[in-house]
């Protein structure tokens, strides 16, 4: 009989043989959560979007692309697209310009930098549901401080959130107020990464402050600008809290945005299939934005 050579320490041998598994085990808890609550929903949403499914009725019925064609024919959908893009196209550039101006000023200060940074960043961490009620009170039709000031200046007052021509602008003000601080700290980080030598060289070449801004700051800051642009776009695209709490999409659908429409279809009207199709359209738009970013980042952005 041939004897099998036994290892001196079988337990150690086993653990060594299984050592390659360890890194995967370390990833497992996080991966499981992502799998169940992010990846699976991503695919399942697509699947649901091919069904007519009212949560109140039991049986989903396969309808192919019908939800998407209903969506394309729906004026409510296009209205939400319009409102969402107005919101993004105003809040995005506005908040970036204010943020850049703040970052340029604060970065040049010798004192109190942390104080200013903290003040302007404060709204980003404040509970927007709570601050939304405060803004609604500030813009209150009868007793709001804004109308008091307008009255005092003898300018016409408005009913703000109750007026379909001013409700979206009020949400735009709130959104800008909230996101500026976030963009500001990203710009501050980007600005402090620009080597001082470039400014000195430009100054020796006789460039004035404006020229230095356009020829040094703007190109050197472009990676940061792109990052801010895309992250801001993605966040603004999902605006929901202020709409749901303050206007409910109204008056006359003037503040109905895509995320709100999605929530309303899924959890108020229970048209789950249609809501899933909406979700997929939102997802596709975000994907396009993201791919655009990596495309631009690879080509046009100026690195050192």
């Amino acid at each position: 009989m041939k004897s099998i050579p036994t290892p001196a320490n079988p337990r150690k041998r086993l653990s060594e043989r299984l050592a390659w598994v360890a890194p995967y085990l370390y990833l497992l808890p996080a991966a499981l959560i992502l799998l169940i609550f992010t990846f699976y929903p991503l695919i399942y949403t697509l699947w649901i979007s091919f069904f007519k499914w009212d949560l109140l009725q039991a049986n989903p019925r396969f309808v192919g692309l019908n939800n998407y064609s209903v969506m394309i024919d729906s004026s409510q959908f296009w209205n939400a697209v319009k409102n969402t893009f107005i919101y993004i196209l105003v809040v995005g550039p506005l908040s970036m310009i204010i943020a850049l101006a703040l970052a340029l000023m604060i970065n040049r200060l010798e004192r109190l930098r942390v104080l200013w940074r903290t003040i302007y960043f404060l709204p980003y961490s404040a509970t927007i549901v709570g601050m939304g009620f405060v803004w609604a009170w500030i813009f209150h039709p009868q007793l709001g401080i804004v109308n008091h000031v307008l009255d005092w200046l003898r300018w016409p007052t408005r009913t703000w959130l109750n007026d379909s021509s001013t409700a979206l602008p009020v949400l735009i003000i709130i959104g800008t107020w909230q996101i500026v601080g976030y963009n500001m700290v990203l710009f501050m980080a980007g600005l402090s990464n620009i080597p001082r030598g470039l400014y000195e060289a430009a100054e020796i070449d006789g460039a004035g402050p404006l020229q230095r801004f356009w020829q040094v700051t703007v190109p050197m800051l472009s990676p940061t600008t792109l990052l801010v642009l895309v992250t801001t776009g993605i966040v603004l695209f999902q605006v929901f809290d202020t709409v749901q709490v303050l206007t409910g999409g109204g008056p006359a659908r003037s503040t109905e945005v895509l995320a709100f429409l999605l929530w309303q279809e899924a959890f108020v009207s229970f048209r789950v299939g249609y809501a899933a199709a909406l979700a997929y359209v939102m997802f596709s738009i975000v994907m396009i934005l993201t791919l655009l970013q990596s495309f631009l980042a690879g080509r046009k952005v100026h690195y050192q």
């Binding site: 390659w20 003040i119 405060v134 007793l143 929901f240 899924a266």
Partner: protein
Amino acid sequence: MPRAFGQRLSWNLRTREILSEFGFHLILLLGAIFWLLPFFWMVSTALKPVAEIFSPNVTLLPVNPTLDNYTKVWASSPFARYLLNSFLVAILILVGQILTIVPAAYAFAKRDFPGKKLLFSIFLATMMIPFHVTIIPNYLTLAKLGWIDSYAGLIIPFLTSVFGIFLLRQFFLSVSNSLLDAARIDGCSELWIMWLVLARSSLPALAAFSVFSFVRQWNLYIWPLIIIESTELKTVTLGLVQFASFESHGVENAGTLMAASSLVVIPIMLVFLLAQQQFIEGITTTGVKG
């Protein structure tokens, strides 16, 4: 002549610098007044008696400050419960997240294994998926598990954070391998190295992540809105909205609504102010809106 000229030039430069510094402070101050106005107005209104809120003569500060609005809020709705719920949920989520992100960040930063690059990009890609896209299936999953209207439903979907993994990995990468090898020679196990060498040397990153995660959970609205029904499970955002709708949006309740809002906002402001350095550094390190 050159010397005097040089002195004058530098003096002029210095004056210009001081003037521009002063000008910037002035602009920033004016902007800050507008930026802080909502916070100020919230607290000021919350401390005003009803008569002053109705009065046509608006005053910036309450003439006869009172805590009436706060006692009314406290008496008419379970705000203590809402605050406790939000605190518990945010803390439990944070603990769970740390337990899942530290091992994952360790694997991505300090171990080599087949498929590492691919897995890491898959993890990162999830940050691009808007939360809204996942809410319908997640609702259905929770319904199947019987977790609708429960603490489990509020907590379990959030038990990991790719933002956190990314942030920690950046820090872990900067910890020298010789430190880890020294610990291995001393006979430390990998788990020991992960938690007591790496995680401990990355406490600033963990602190940054903790504040970030806590603030995010405290402020979260859409998820509790979808899955929570019972009053005793409501978080602060949901409780506040319920309070507002019960009280109707009527003018007579502006004082109590501002008091209730401040009960939600002020705790998280304090958390942020205590840890704003870490919070902001966490964001600028990764450039990600968690």
